[in-house]
Symmetry: C2
Subunit: 394 residues, 2 copies
């Protein structure tokens, strides 16, 4: 009586994981420092020193019960209040702690947000290229993920296609800015246009359409790029955040859903998330991590290396003749492959120990993703391999 | 388009939480030390000192990436190996790390285990009295929870009723020993008889029937009580464990599912759990907590206070004329109320600042639960209130 649905899922192995496993295996042969592993979005900079200090102080000074006792199932009140306060100060919002639901990263946040505002059979639209894990988050909720084709010019939104796909069954749009894998950041024009369209459609259909805004890269925005706060543009917005990238602690699984105080049933979203968590027995993120993160809300790791790496790679790619939109943030770049079949392109690159991810995983053919959250020294050493790869194959 | 199912769940407030809130409010009036709060199963003894030391050492000595980087989605390999090793040594099993899936407590473990071995519409049987959170864990998976009436003599298993209820749709039995709320521990006779019955029924129905064994109280067993390891008796067993009680860290959400190496598809259970977690975006417990717990697997908090408290309460209850099965473990006791309506009984007790939980929550009428994970000094002070309550009302 093993559940066949979950058993079947085991067959679909993640391409990114497979590439990462290849990189690890190859590293054992030639030394991992010689594998130019651009596969995984694992932050390469350390946590802020202050985070480690805070953790040690909590362990030394707080009583066992205060530190390790049950967290309220909707999260620790003081932590939620401080997150709300920090968002209000930074983005001119007016959240209270009741609008914040602490989750296990942005992954948990998106999975919960989808369940709050859809019912089985409803459609959720997202935009190619998109993070492939959206599939399990949405499909396992019973809602249906539909993908709006990419605007490959700028990786903003293809509004013509979006309008074609919006329909009565559309319950939510799942957007991701700054974007994995393109590095694009939605500008104020895009967000204004999007909000206007959705307001019109809400009226037309007579029901809410939510924006679920997946924002784990919100703090990784490059010089001169404006990254407006999505929820400012549209009331029915649930913002999904993770500290994984900004504090470099993806293993600790901490983030939140923030419900815009003006969204429908704003006061209930957090409590509904609690019920959703309850059903899977997860309840809440670990108490000590909630308490520690609350002390470093306005800190980030030193993330300047990502912009340095981006500039090196972008310039090299352009000079090698690649078509490539310059990333506005994240630690990803998404150039067009030099042949139609991105899988074959990335396969050839492996011979140069360049581990690139073909764009098919992100539902756009013919591109590839490089995750440049690695040391700058290694990025520089990889350029020669990149040049040889291009010269000898294209 | 707010999801009505989750919204509706908000109406059903937990009786235990409400009582606990009453206790907190009353504590503000008369001092919390004067409220005899037997409502919540929140461990009252501190974490082992070694756990705190290990956490500090990890923070001081490990690199940020090793400590806070992404955990593999099936859990950290070295942690899983050590859990397997510890179980093998203690219970004569032969788990490997691949049979272990780290979860966010026993709650997460049970919710995952149910999804592994049932499909929507299948029946899961549990035994009254039972932990009310089993309802969301099972109902939200699509399976159906059916409750076998209690054996109120000994709180072992009512086999006649069980045989009546077993049928072709039975996919799993969810058992909990040592038991919340009765404190009963299933003995070897009960487990042998259960295993024989299920083996016969598996043959009869031509499909697996799993035991999902919820064991968060496994380390809290009193003198002279034998608490056999369930999985030794029946191959198709998934053991669900939590460190919440044994290490007094319920807020850190850490436990595991251990699949008996001889169960059907034993090698797949852990990977299937990974897929289930993926769908809700939870992925895995926090890295640092996994790493720290692995260093203290064979340690527990000093839990002798629970047995001391049990003896004081048991003797007093018996001398006051209560009918009560002596608990073999946990930090709960489950006496028969002195009137048929347990809710009314517990309501009257509140006037004496005694916070007792009526048994209706556990699907047995006419009993009440006391969670005696509080200071012994307070238990002793509560006896006078208990005596006055009984004398003045019954």
């Amino acid at each position: 009586m093993i559940n066949e649905q979950y058993k079947k899922m085991l067959e679909g192995k993640s391409v990114i994981r497979q590439l990462s496993e290849f990189a690890t295996a190859r590293g054992k042969e030639i030394g991992y420092e010689n594998v130019f592993d651009y596969s995984l979005g694992n932050p390469s900079v350390p946590v802020p020193e202050k985070f480690t200090q805070v953790m040690i102080e909590l362990l030394q000074n707080k009583s066992s019960m205060e530190l390790h006792g049950y967290s309220p199932s909707l999260g620790i009140t003081s932590v939620k209040d401080r997150i709300a306060e920090s968002l209000n100060k930074r983005f001119g919002m007016n959240y209270t702690g009741n609008h914040i639901f602490p989750t296990t990263g942005a992954a948990g946040a998106v999975a919960h947000a989808v369940r709050c505002v859809t019912k089985p059979g409803d459609e959720v639209l997202t935009f190619a290229p998109y993070f492939p894990e959206y599939n399990p988050y949405i499909n396992m909720s019973g809602a249906v993920l539909k993908v709006v084709p990419a605007d490959t010019e700028s990786f903003q939104i293809n509004f013509d296609k979006l309008e074609e796909m919006l329909n009565e069954k559309t319950a939510a749009l799942l957007i991701n800015t700054p974007n994995n894998p393109s590095g694009a950041v939605y500008n104020a024009d895009t967000l204004t246009k999007l909000a206007e369209l959705l307001k019109k459609k809400q009226q037309e259909y007579g029901h809410d359409i939510f924006i679920i805004s997946d924002e784990p890269y919100r703090e990784i925005v490059f010089e001169g790029v404006d990254a407006p706060y999505v929820s400012k543009f549209y009331d029915n917005t649930l913002s999904c955040y993770s500290y994984s990238k900004s504090l470099s602690l993806p293993g600790e699984r901490i983030g939140y859903v923030a419900a815009n105080p003006r969204c429908t049933d704003a006061e209930l979203i957090s409590a509904m998330c609690g019920q959703i968590s309850r059903g899977i027995g997860h309840n809440c993120p670990p108490s000590i991590i909630q308490l520690a993160v609350a002390e470093v809300l306005d800190t980030t790791s030193d993330m300047s290396v990502y912009e340095t790496n981006m500039n090196i790679l972008y310039n090299e790619l352009i000079s090698l003749g690649f078509t490539c939109t310059k990333p506005g943030g994240t630690f990803y770049i998404f150039p067009k492959a030099l042949e139609e079949d991105a899988v074959s392109f990335c396969q050839k690159a492996l011979k140069y120990d360049l581990v690139l991810v073909p764009s098919d995983s992100f539902d756009v053919p013919g591109y590839f993703r490089m995750a440049y959250c690695i040391d700058t020294e290694k990025v520089e050493r990889s350029l020669d391999a990149l040049r040889r790869f291009v010269k000898e194959n294209y």
